[in-house]
Symmetry: C2
């Protein structure tokens, strides 16, 4: 059992992150939003976008001065069902949550609400905001652009972000329907997982400048960073297995996220200018569709649940005893982790100690898992 990660309750980790963000100069109310979005990923088992990102993304960027801890949320344009917001390089979670709240309010009034943000920053999981809609009895559709990493079909250059196209809908089950995923075959986080497991990366996930698919996990991670390698769009290399579709959806997300708000896109989001780190000012797209403008909400939830249940009971492939529907694995993780806590691998614990020590958060002198 010595290699098992320690575990801590979601509440504890969330409060720790609130204190970290406050220590960095994020106002308390905003710090709570940032922590809430990050811990939501951990609760749902989306380990690539939770506490593990606290230091390398937000902490380090605020420290290096390329991310504003204080968010100036400016509504640039506001009409009936639509709005454009400027986040002025503040905390992406804070910008995004307020945008989604606006979209939900507009949908309550008009049936649909659509808000786009410019000069925002990394907002955590898109799913958090889609779930806000589902909890409000609405369909949520969210997109954001991101640092360039996907190569176009027949190309080899990292051009498009992992650009999630995310949907959530309320259901009559324990957890809403939710699909929250990158429009590449996989994200960097999955390759980092292969590294931790000491495994080669499967063919077809990463392409390098020679046009060949790469499997050497450690070198892939370095080459993705330097731009010598790129992620393959959902559907795979070339167009025979539909790679042009994933590429088309990644482009759709790039356009939804940038063109409506007249903002940055693709290489402008690389975070480096003349060899120095620069702000990564992202664009987001938030849509809420009020179910009750179309149909009784309970009826809708039943309809959604019915489709999901039919899918699950359909004929399994030999050797497979279970078919999942989107959002189900997240719902299972939520249940398990609310009982057993969130696993914290050694690298994350080390980051937590570093942040505690640097910020002088003396209330965390002894972490709960260190107590005997």
């Amino acid at each position: 059992m010595t290699n098992d990660p320690v575990r801590a309750s979601a509440d504890f980790i969330e409060q720790f992150m609130v204190d970290v963000f406050c220590g960095l100069g994020v106002p308390e109310e905003d710090a709570k939003v940032c922590a809430e979005v990050l811990i939501c990923a951990d609760k749902l088992g989306i380990d690539s976008h939770g506490i593990n990102r606290c230091k390398p993304i937000y902490y380090d960027r605020i420290k290096s001065g390329i991310l504003n801890p204080v968010t100036h949320f400016e509504i640039v344009r506001d009409s009936k069902a639509t709005a454009v917001v400027d986040g002025h390089n503040g905390m992406g979670h804070v910008v995004a949550k307020r945008c989604m709240q606006m979209a939900i309010e507009k949908a309550r009034e008009h049936g649909v609400g659509c808000v786009v943000a410019r000069n925002s920053t990394h907002f955590g999981i898109a799913g958090y905001y889609a779930l806000m809609a589902a909890e409000a009895g609405m369909i949520g559709q969210i997109s954001t652009n991101a640092r360039p990493s996907i190569a176009p079909t027949f190309g080899v250059e990292n051009m498009l972000g992992t650009n999630p196209l995310t949907f959530a809908m309320p259901s009559d089950e324990k957890f809403p329907f939710m699909i929250d995923c990158a429009t590449s075959v996989c994200q960097r986080g999955k390759i980092e997982l292969y590294e931790r497991m000491g495994k080669d990366t499967p063919a077809g996930l990463v392409i390098d400048r020679s046009g060949k698919t790469r499997t050497d996990t450690s070198r892939i991670l370095a080459d993705l960073k330097s731009g010598k390698a790129a992620l393959v769009p959902l559907g795979g290399l070339g167009d025979e297995t539909g790679g042009h579709k994933g590429y088309g959806y990644a482009t759709t997300v790039e356009l939804l996220s940038s063109a409506l708000q007249n903002g940055n896109s693709m290489k402008q989001l690389s975070g480096v200018k003349e060899g120095k780190p620069t702000p990564i000012e992202l664009g987001h797209f938030f849509m809420a569709i009020d179910v009750q403008a179309f149909i009784d909400l309970e009826k809708f939830k039943g309809n959604v649940g019915h489709v999901l249940r039919e899918l699950r009971v359909s004929a399994k492939a030999p050797g497979r005893d279970r078919i999942y529907t989107a959002g189900e694995k997240e719902g299972i993780a939520l249940e398990e982790r609310s009982k057993n806590g969130i696993p914290l691998p050694g690298a994350i614990v080390a980051d937590m100690k570093a942040m505690r020590d640097e910020l002088g958060l003396s209330q965390y002198k002894v972490f709960p898992w260190e107590q005997r």
Copy 2:
């Protein structure tokens, strides 16, 4: 050159289809809509959804009494930015075009418009309706469900339709951005193409009940029809290459298309009941987003065009001299076919003759390509 298909002008084929639909009892105004949507596919090079579908889908269904030639378009519910429509098993093109017009009008008024249809039928290419939005200076997002053909990840049963998730946006280029594709790796039409070419189907596109991928093209086509085989979701078999993502998007489309309008889904759309053909009453989802509610339209078009041009000039894979963006190949086909006409393979010409003779369309006694 003897095996080259004959060609005819789009205008000629369109008028022929108008006359066919009128001959079947479709009112002239509606017949024009049906023909316009179908010829749009032919003009754009989407040969799977144009004149080739006229007979096996619409003609045969009207003849067999499972599709109403006269469309009763009923607005069931209409509020600010939203509406629910019932198509009463009429012509899908007619239902869909009016729904999209409503969505566009609502978007002009509120910034966004969202209309769903129930008891509609096969509406041709989703792209036609997305392009209506683009032509109106809007973003179009369209979905429809369809006869069950995609197997869930880890499943082998045909459950979900090819369920397109379609977007179009205006650009400053000759043709709008448009992605109009199934959420499976490929559609049946592509496998029919492999058959015409006498080629095996590549592995990973089709799965059968044993869980194995199939390559025997002719038997695949029979087994897809009988439900012994199913299409693989975009991303491929299993979840390692992202198949669960395509499956998740196919489910999203199924839900958007059915749950909001309280309609049929999945197996209910198989078109067969107790061995007899029955109506296939589909659901559609139409969204229009008015660009001008967010940004000056010309500015938006320039932003879209800029992203597309950057993608095209990015580094090519060795041996590839061109990167396409979504909608570009359709734009190229449009130019070429407006000069040279639409190719009509022998099977389509035979269908045209059969329809002409059965309906007594004597004005087409000699087709233009038969004149010397």
